[in-house]
Symmetry: C2
Subunit: 109 residues, 2 copies
């Protein structure tokens, strides 16, 4: 059997599931995989997301260390969001999830 | 950037997330990684799970093709649960999730 059965590490799995629990988490991470983006860029790229949902999702991901927020002293101030190292590592998990979904998941729904 | 940004495949990711959405899904999959088990074995191994929760979780996982149910014509009938190929593939996703959680996740909670 694979190594999963030796170390349940339930809290580690819960932490991973928690990141993606927000409705827009995946979409924002997927967008930021394409590089750092400002709030308005993200809002334009994510059709159907409200300002509040985007604000909440960015805060959710920032609190979990998935994204970083950089403020530029322009007038008005500019804020740029990008994936952290943890966020880059998480996007690899998403790739594995998507691969499973494509190979097995979507048929079984 | 990694391949995630090229193919959102949102439905594939949703299918993967959906599997693990039940509270006990991870624990049941983790148990079955150790080999096929009967209902009572699972119930004994999963401290705190009710008969209803175990029944619901097994049905949830069976409906999504993660586990298979084998009925033996004993008296009384014996039912054995095991991971399918899709289930084995999904446990690899869980291993990646746990790795991320151990390396990055648990600190950021």
């Amino acid at each position: 059997m694979n190594e999963l059965s030796e170390q349940p590490c339930y809290s580690a799995i819960v932490a991973a599931i928690e990141v993606i629990s927000g409705k827009w988490s995946y979409s924002v991470i997927s967008q930021l995989c394409q590089g750092a983006q400002r709030f308005n860029q993200l809002h334009r790229s994510l059709a159907g997301i409200s300002i509040k949902s985007l604000t909440d999702t960015l805060r959710h991901l920032e609190q979990r260390g998935i994204i970083a927020r950089k403020v530029f002293p322009t007038v008005p101030v500019t804020v740029e969001y990008s994936l952290t190292e943890s966020g880059m590592a998480y996007s690899e998990v998403l790739v594995r999830m998507r691969e499973w979904g494509i190979n097995w998941g979507v048929k079984s729904l």
